[in-house]
Amino acid sequence: MALQYDIVIVGGGGAGLRAAIAIGETNPKLKIALVSKVFPMRSHTVAAEGGAAAVIKDNDSFNDHCLDTIGGGEWMCDQDAVELFVNEAPKELIQMEHWGCPWSRELDGTVAVRPFGGMKIERTWFAADKTGFHLLHTLFQTSLKYNNVIRHDEWFATKILVENGRCQGVTAIEMRSGIMKVIAAKSVIMCTGGAGRVFPFTTNGAIKTGDGMAMAYRAGIPLKDMEFIQYHPTGLPGTGILITEAARGEGGILVNKEGYRYLQDYDLGMPLDIEDPKHPVNKSMELGPRDRLSQAFIKEREKEKTITGPFGDVVHLDIRHLGKKKIDKKLPFVRELTKNYIGIDPVYEPIPVRPVVHYMMGGIDTTIDCRTILPGLFAAGECACVSINGANRLGSNSLTEILVYGARAGNAAAVFANEHSEINLEALEKQGADEYKRITRDFLQKDGGSERIATLRKEIHQVMEQSVGIFRSESGLKEACNKIEELKDRFSSILIEDKSLNFNTELTSALELENMIDVAESIIFSALSRRESRGSHQRTDFLNRDDENFLRHSLAYRTETESRIEYQDVAITKWPPGERVYGKEE
């Protein structure tokens, strides 16, 4: 029997929880299902470290936050979405404060802010360097207040159900029992996060396999700007564990093997002495944007100026001059992580770091109201592309984004649910039965099969790192297209040893792999079509930005064999495309 709700939210991270609370507050009569493949507090919002941006201090302005964001995104951001985001941001972060988020404070008791990469004015609110953790737990704990939010923890959503041209629910496997359920609803919100796990070296947790993106893609909804993949410049070698940008916001520096602050060679300004009270200078050197810093690393490696180590080449992030007291107060997690995972205490030694896949600017194409082209389906957070992040997201915008657009998606979905009551249960159950048949036929009852999940996953990783890394080329991308075809083909003979029902994580791994292949396909085809270099998308065969042809969002549609790429104009309201300026007067 189908479960019936007014609204289903898929994904229990920051965006999903914020959406649930928004509906809980404004529409206490609507019954909400929060479906997540993990317990909400395990969601990857938990790992965000540095902070969340919003204009609150007197020296700051909405205009500056907009311009930093738009320039940082190399004019690929929809400016109406950015304006809305910037205007709503302070309210959302104050709301988090009222819900108990332990923001770090100034002596007078007001919320403290810190500088972050690519931001002209310091405007990043932070809770030490565990901001995502505190936001997620505050949201999760607050969500427990609302009786109309019914959680389905550890339910794995597999398919968006479309009936009569409208999204009317999802199918999901209750992992505990292995039973597939139809969850019918008048509107559905996707908040499933990104897909960093299609890459081998990523800050993302194991759960970030692009499930929502792939489900939407298979339902005929376009994925927007998928070629824009953010590499964070400072990940720990080996594990890819994130060392927050806040380390540089607090004054940390990046040096090559000669101890030289190499960023000055990459049009990011000139360094001030670390003892200079004006260091670090906003929007300059170590506080440049992530795309440019990660690209600088690759160039530095080509010059053989990086340091060779057992887990690949690195540069040094040096925060020793901050001193133990400041490190323990403002960057305790950095110290904990480096001590635990590489045996280095940053109070006494520089931290080895290298660029690491961190965030997907692209995602499910939505309007400013979080609507997708499928009526009744909404999306928010990293899985969506609204788009405020353009070709390169600025650090500390994503935590704010999940709040602003999470709440907005919740409200929009509530309005839609109130206006559309009819649900075709019979048809949905039929679709559910078909989906169940597909899962049993292709996985649970399938005999034979020879391809190990881990083998295919490794091969995706290889092809993604080689072809859609920091620098890309036509030939590499074309090879990748063929490889994806091959992997799709081989996926049909996947080996599933576990035929049982209860917590069959081999089955869910296979479903995640299927999602990863689809997302990888959309990334590769989008990257192949964008014949220019912009933000995080750098082509070695098209070195320049081409506003005439490519100041447009790419939309990847699923076809039988590959992605069909279409383009959509970027919304420009007040800020005409210009040069990105770092380390000098704008």
């Binding site: 395990r42 790992a47 404060e97 427990l144 994580t505």
Partner: protein, 263 residues
Amino acid sequence: MATRRTCLWKRGVKVSETFEMEIFRYYPDKDNEPFIKSYEVPFRDDWVVLDAINYIKDEIDGTLSYRWSCRMGVCGSCGMMVNSVPKLTCSAFLKDYPSRKIRVEPLQGFPVERDLIFDMDDFMNKLTEVKPYLLRKEGEEKPLEEGEYLQSPAELAHYKQYTLCINCMLCYAACPIYALDSNFVGPAAIALAQRYNLDSRDQGRNQRQEVIASHEGIWECTFVGECSVVCPKDVDPAAAIQRAKVSSTLDWFKEKMIPRSKG
């Protein structure tokens, strides 16, 4: 200078032979009894226990089920018993088990659902019961337009430690009281209630007391103290519980000695 791990980064990775890893297995739909299965796994000194378990799942036996995600000690998914001690397996390095005997079991004290996966429903319900959210008295909520509640760094320091709980459940697994009587509200849930009680912005302590000061709450605790020993985030739930005992006792005295103080 603080004690530090041997610096992996500088020394490079040592891979030496293999070792036998014993894993607890349980299929609820096939057998009633769990069993231990051994796997041969490379002994890499840059690996944590979770890496070895992932190796088994990827390369040897796809049927093994367990929870994990962030592999950086913050999502709280991968808690397991490693040689009978509750550990986050993403932070337990193989090289810290030089005897090369490692047995992994699900966190103890909980019903096991499958292999290394235990039932967490009980904790989720208890968490809801202790009202772990900011409560203000009616009419004392500050409108959003008026900005944040002011809170000095000193006031923040009063409760900060108790905000660091990642709900990994190691403290419950370490608590013999919880194993003997699962009605006990337990360390993490009480520490979280205490987190809000000590927050200068909160006014909801009275609403939490009913559950916290009950027999199943703080008074069930007999101060074994192991919850704080195994806590990977130094939350010190044992101290949170003992502090709650002191303030509840003071409440009682106030009520008995100064009857009017209640009103």
